[in-house]
Subunit: 438 residues, 2 copies
């Protein structure tokens, strides 16, 4: 049988890795897919570099629109990143009747609904396993492995850079800025790390996960996002003392009134498997009503882990080539005419437990004032910690862990506590998730 | 579109759970699958009980052969267990052109090659996600999620009963027999627990995993099997002291000379995620050459977790209904004409590190005698532990952790050490796996 011909857009880290793994495991992949899968033509900005990476046998062009229009190409692998050119190319490929495989989470988070709609109309597949959690087959788990379930919630460590930084802060006791520098020197963080450390990358992935879990459109603008750049060492060690680890989680949850979508630092009980995911690794915990909790762990980035997901998609498309479009796995897990318009909750309506660090003057009555404010909002306290101040200090931190309350109640209470004359600065507020299956 | 009609063989725990989840999540499942999936007819031995479980709307029969021949049925779900009647029914269903979904690991471990061959010839699918690790979509990960990779090894906690017993032994310090009784009273272990505790159930699953990972036929008779019934408390606490946990692992590995397949208690470094999988949960660690290590965790048994996997298969078959058979996902991950006859290694050729507990009289020269025997076999020692004997004891245990060596060298050394006049009993030998990606 003649090989399946791939057109590659982009010969960077992922494009190079994809070519390398396709080449190295060519025989093994063909034994699974039923046909050889080979890169036939590639588009790159730097043709000399691309030639060195791809070797002599692959046609090269600096015009990516030639690739998406190439008559021999059946699948286009979009690995250039970005959202403008990538969108035009993917839509053009679809228009030309090509299947598309993409690793581009930003593209799908921003234009996924449009792209899936165009693909559906044209009868081609857009596959995107590599867009979320790198080599972990989490898209497949959500779209195919857990189809029996009402998904109740998903909580994931879906950004390796931030998990590396948090792991190092905990292990070494170093401050955020210091660890960030190490991460940059090791290649775990970009020169401009904003995208990762402020939670934007995680939000892209969460918007996609949430759509697949609940059968809703992708709604990036409704994700509540907080990063880790304000996280202090003292909060990590305080959390530790109460038996928690702090992780940047992407959380999406179905509650009575709608869907929660949020990315923020989170205290997790240290006994949970996901609390022990260290370094740049990713893990996604999915709770289904029938299966209970399941966890998927692996490398969330890197040339070959990402290539692993890209190629899994290429094999899927190759295997399913003859299925009529109506019988393929739907892009969003649910069939396009079966999406739900259930509301995404504003953050104020989200319920959570909280860790609070309140900096105060060490005076009589402080605790009474604070606990009165919490009680007025019906926020009950689960645990409290106050250490004796250092000899020459009159400031002290009081730590509270609270029971479940609505975020808007907590925000109002925090505002009142911060207005107390004894409060010396901003309150640090970190949400807590027990992830215990409820 | 008319519903997909299922014929159910068996209305026990899994059959009842499957019906319940299909009923409860009917709408959600139809939104994903494109058609409703409903049980049309079921076969059970106890018709009264089945009627109570399934309600009034489903045809019932005590003749399962009527189900596999039923003209309205497109998929037969075989959930009766056992290998004789189940084999006849599955082969009859295939012969009648029905797709088959089964949760029966013993059936596939013993007759999988024959069943897959028959299905291939008849152009129908046999799906079996529920046969390995319950609700965890590990079959899908191996057959579809990791198709880019040369799988290097798989190591799994694939029997919940034994993992529950080992977790409890470690947590409570209780002996095996004692914990087994608790497990039986809680329903985690059968009245006759042999199948689980001697590793037979894990061996069934491992034979299937190995076939999918490496593209080889299912070869149950070549799995080396050791259970946990001889495991002593002292070995669990000794392991702990060296920084290890003991788990019953199913391990299959591709090495230069062939394939390893083995089920046995194993020391694992306690920092590994899989070492922290507690209670009756399952987890499978898969190492691919491109993706690196990935882990899949969840409930390995129980009515609804198993139903989750059964129904995922029903949805897969429903979605892929029109794909021509040649383009479906192959039963064994690799296409049937692409299986490999690479040898399964006899256990003597398998390399491993070892934990040894040698009971000896506390006499001068003992250590010299033992280490000489190990050195003669080129077995080098990584760590050693000998405590002072209790006041009234002249016997003492010496613990060795060794570097890698071939099992046959280790066996020969053990035989020689046991023959020493100072050795007071059998040596306890437990293999160690670092699972560090190599």
């Amino acid at each position: 049988m003649k090989p399946m011909h791939i057109g590659l857009l982009g010969v960077g880290t992922v494009g190079g890795g994809t070519h390398e793994v396709l080449r190295r495991n060519r025989e093994e992949i063909a034994r699974r897919a039923g046909r050889e899968i080979v890169v036939r033509v590639a588009a790159a900005r730097n043709l000399d570099k691309a030639r060195r990476v791809l070797g002599p046998d692959i046609d090269l062009t600096d015009d990516p629109f030639k690739v998406v229009a190439h008559p021999d190409i059946e699948i286009v692998a979009e690995l250039i990143g970005g959202t403008d050119l990538a969108r035009d190319l993917v839509l053009a490929a679809i228009e030309n009747g090509k299947h598309v495989v993409t690793a581009n989470k930003a593209l799908l988070a921003e234009h996924g609904n449009e792209i899936f709609g165009a693909a559906q109309q044209r009868g081609v597949s857009v596959a995107f396993e590599a867009a979320v959690a790198g080599g972990i087959p989490i898209i497949k788990a959500l779209r195919e492995g857990l189809t029996a379930n009402q998904i109740q919630w998903v909580a994931g460590i879906i950004n390796g850079t931030t998990n590396y930084i948090l792991s190092e802060m905990r292990d070494t006791g170093a401050a955020f800025e210091e660890v960030l520098k190490t991460a940059q020197s090791l290649g775990y963080a970009e020169a401009d790390p904003t995208f990762d450390i402020e939670g934007v990358d995680a939000a892209h992935k969460l918007a996609i996960i949430s759509a697949l879990a609940f059968g809703i459109p992708i709604q990036l603008d409704k994700v509540h996002v907080e990063g880790i750049s304000n996280l202090a060492r003292v909060d990590i060690s305080n959390a530790e003392e109460f038996g928690y680890r702090i992780k940047l989680l992407g959380i999406t949850k179905r509650v009575a009134d709608g869907i929660e979508m949020r990315v923020h630092p989170t205290l997790i009980p240290h006994r949970r498997l996901i609390a022990n995911v260290e370094g740049a690794m990713n893990a996604v915990l999915v709770k289904g009503d029938a299966v209970g909790p399941t966890l998927y762990y692996g490398a969330g980035a890197g040339a070959e882990p990402t290539a692993s997901a890209v190629i899994a998609d290429l094999v899927d498309v190759t295997r399913m080539h003859t299925a009529d479009p109506d019988h393929r796995v739907p892009h969003s897990a649910f069939r396009p005419d079966q999406l739900s318009d259930i509301a995404v909750l504003p953050m104020g309506e989200v319920q959570s437990c909280y860790y609070l660090r309140v900096p105060v003057f060490d005076r009589p009555g402080v605790l009474a004032d604070i606990t009165r404010i919490l009680a007025d909002r019906k926020i009950s306290i689960e645990a409290m910690l106050q250490r004796e101040p250092a000899a020459d200090e009159e400031e002290v931190n009081i730590i509270f862990l609270t029971h479940m309350t609505k975020e808007k109640e907590m925000n109002a209470a925090i505002e009142k506590i911060e207005a107390l004359p004894v409060t010396t600065g901003s309150i640090t507020r970190i949400r807590i998730e027990s992830l215990d299956g409820k």
